[in-house]
């Protein structure tokens, strides 16, 4: 376990982001903020530098290191998620730069908020202490509320912020209350210490691991409720469609990927630190059924509600709820992790799907943002005849939608296939039912993704003028679209690389 000074070298990527935030905020009050280019360039520079250092550190790192007196863990998973978060932040910045929805006046603030919140997210992925979990979660939460309400003069943006803050504050309060019991069980805020109590190894006198299982289950369920809100899983999803619809589109793109990935990272970090090797039937069966039921509810409700949405942002919001459901299937393989020989393959499938999800979901939102900027609306009608008006944008959107639906030859198919395969591999009726409902839901989702395709290619539009796409838009579309296709046909090296990194 490293002390404070020795740990500093491990958080250089976060330190770079901290400096970037300070720099961008200084720019924001100076004359330079009148130019979006200067702000976007400095923000991008900071994020790229942080990504480069994170990748460089990941290449030279071995195993996991407990840093800052055991408050955070730095391992391969943190390195992976750092790249996911920072990359999402970078793309969000470029979306915002290309979008007309973010005023130049607000651009520096937005850049600083995005950089700060991806910094908080990387601490979420690394937290190995209850206090650190709470602080990182709230840090990201508070910044997200402000980001949702960035357009003060816009009614819907303010409404999104209100919905976000009310649900978010309530959910994190519940999680905190659960954590207070975990602290009480162990007398220590380290998750490892709580695990030892559950194992029955530590504690004096009459303390028994099994005796703590019911209280432990209750506390873990409360913490999961708080995280369920972050990933927008049913029944904590009510804020999601309103926030996604009301927030400026580039910010919605950010929300749909980064906080969701951070919520899953924290959830899996927490569960694997707390429950690895804990052989309690109550805990393993209880959590398996609970997470499984939440997963089924999320995908079914998300997909059903998406079927008749007119607003594409709202439709993608429900689609992201359904995706939280698919991802939770992987988390429901928790009992494999709690066995005597812990098997994290279910969690690994979730990591893999999150990376794939980043590309396809950000892509779909970027096209939506492009349409909103050029045509002024995110209504399905605005997408009419996009296939003729802007063949490139429509073509790439088709790739993203096919990938979201989980059809070959795209990355979404590979990710989903891997996820279903891992769930089926667990054996047992419960997992078969889970996977079966997952497959049924994938078919259901085809309907609304295909509806967008139909509108883009088959419905005529009164306005047939071409929709221009600038060089930046084309570059971003390629950066997202090419991997989505490439991962779909050239997946085996990627899968083995993922296995090696997280092995």
């Amino acid at each position: 376990m490293l002390g404070n000074q020795a740990s500093l070298a491990l958080v250089i990527p976060e330190a770079i982001l901290g400096a970037t935030v300070a720099g961008v905020m200084a720019l924001g009050v100076s004359r330079a903020a009148r130019s979006r280019g200067v702000v976007a360039a400095s923000g991008s520079l900071g994020l790229l530098a942080a990504m480069a250092v994170a990748a460089w550190q990941a290449a030279g790192a071995h195993g996991s290191v407990a840093a800052f007196h055991g408050n955070v863990v730095v391992d391969a998973m943190v390195s992976l998620f750092r790249l996911v978060f920072f990359g999402t932040g970078l793309l969000t910045l470029w979306f915002a730069y290309a979008s007309s929805e973010i005023d130049t006046r607000d651009f520096a603030d937005m850049t600083a908020l995005v950089c700060a919140s991806v910094m908080g997210m990387s601490f979420m992925a690394a937290a190995s202490d209850l206090l650190m979990m709470v602080l990182a979660m709230e840090f990201v939460g508070l910044l997200s509320y402000v980001l949702a309400g960035l357009k003060r003069e816009d009614q819907r943006s303010s409404e999104a912020a209100l919905k976000y803050v009310i649900y978010g504050a309530g959910a994190s309060g519940v999680a905190l209350f659960g954590m207070s019991f975990l602290y009480g069980m162990a007398g220590d805020t380290s998750i490892q210490a709580v695990r030892e109590v559950l194992l029955g190894g530590a504690g004096e006198g009459t303390r028994q691991g099994a005796g703590f299982a019911p209280l432990g289950l209750l506390a873990v369920v409360m913490v999961l409720a708080g995280l369920g809100y972050k990933v927008a899983a049913v029944p904590f999803h009510m804020w999601c469609p309103d926030v996604y619809q009301g927030a400026p589109t580039p910010i919605t793109a950010f929300f749909s990927v980064a906080p969701k990935a951070a919520g899953f990272a924290l959830m899996m970090r927490f569960l694997s630190l707390l429950l690895a090797g804990v052989s309690s039937r109550l805990l393993s069966d209880g959590l398996m059924v609970l997470i499984g039921v939440v997963s089924i509810a999320s995908m079914t409700l998300g997909n059903l509600a998406a079927l008749n949405q007119r607003s594409v942002k709202r439709l993608l919001a429900y689609s992201s709820i359904a995706h939280a459901g698919y991802l939770l299937m992987g988390v429901a393989t928790l009992p494999a992790l709690m066995s005597a020989t812990p098997d994290p393959s279910g969690f690994r499938a979730v990591y893999f799907y999150l990376v794939v999800y980043l590309f396809m979901n950000l892509g779909a939102f970027f096209v939506t943002s492009h349409v909103v900027t050029r045509l002024g609306s995110d209504d399905l009608g605005a997408f009419r005849a996009l296939g003729q008006r802007s063949p490139l944008v429509a073509g790439v959107m088709a790739v993203f939608l096919i990938s979201l639906a989980g059809l070959p030859p795209t990355a979404g198919f590979v990710g989903k296939f891997y996820l279903f395969w891992v769930v089926l591999k667990q054996g047992g009726a419960f997992y078969y039912v889970l996977a079966f409902i997952g497959v049924l839901n994938s078919f259901l989702s085809l309907f609304y993704y295909a509806r967008i395709l139909k509108v883009m290619y088959l419905e005529p539009s009164a306005d047939t003028r071409p929709v221009a796409a600038g060089p930046l838009a084309v570059a971003v579309l390629m950066a997202l679209g090419v991997p989505t296709l490439l991962f779909g046909v050239w997946f085996s090296p990627l899968l083995s690389a993922a296995g090696k990194v997280l092995g």
């Binding site: 303010s158 209100l162 009310i166």
Partner: protein, 102 residues
């Protein structure tokens, strides 16, 4: 009467439930935020009580101090948002602040 850990835990649980009820039933945005405050303080009572009566050391107190600071920060952000809402809607009733959906 001797005050024990159980008394504090029951108090905290009662506060937590009241907070949840407040969250679910209040329509005034400020009222909802008060419910959040109740939940956070229920957690604080738990933390300090475990620290004082249980096997915990000073960590519980430190945790509670952090949570107090956190609650303050959250209130600042939330009230700023409520202010913006009032500016647009001339009300802070969360049911009336709902112009999307369609």
């Amino acid at each position: 009467m001797h005050v024990t850990l159980t008394h504090f835990l029951v108090l905290a649980a009662a506060l937590f439930v009241l907070g949840l009820i407040n969250l679910a039933t209040r329509r005034n945005a400020i009222g909802v935020l008060l419910g959040v405050e109740l939940i956070l303080n229920a957690a604080n009572i738990n933390l300090v009580a475990f620290s004082r009566y249980g096997i915990g050391g000073i960590e519980g107190h430190a945790f509670a101090v952090m949570v107090i600071a956190l609650a303050a920060a959250e209130t600042v952000v939330a009230l700023a948002i409520v202010l913006a809402i009032f500016h647009h809607y001339r009300t802070v009733d969360v049911d009336e602040v709902s112009r999307m959906k369609e």
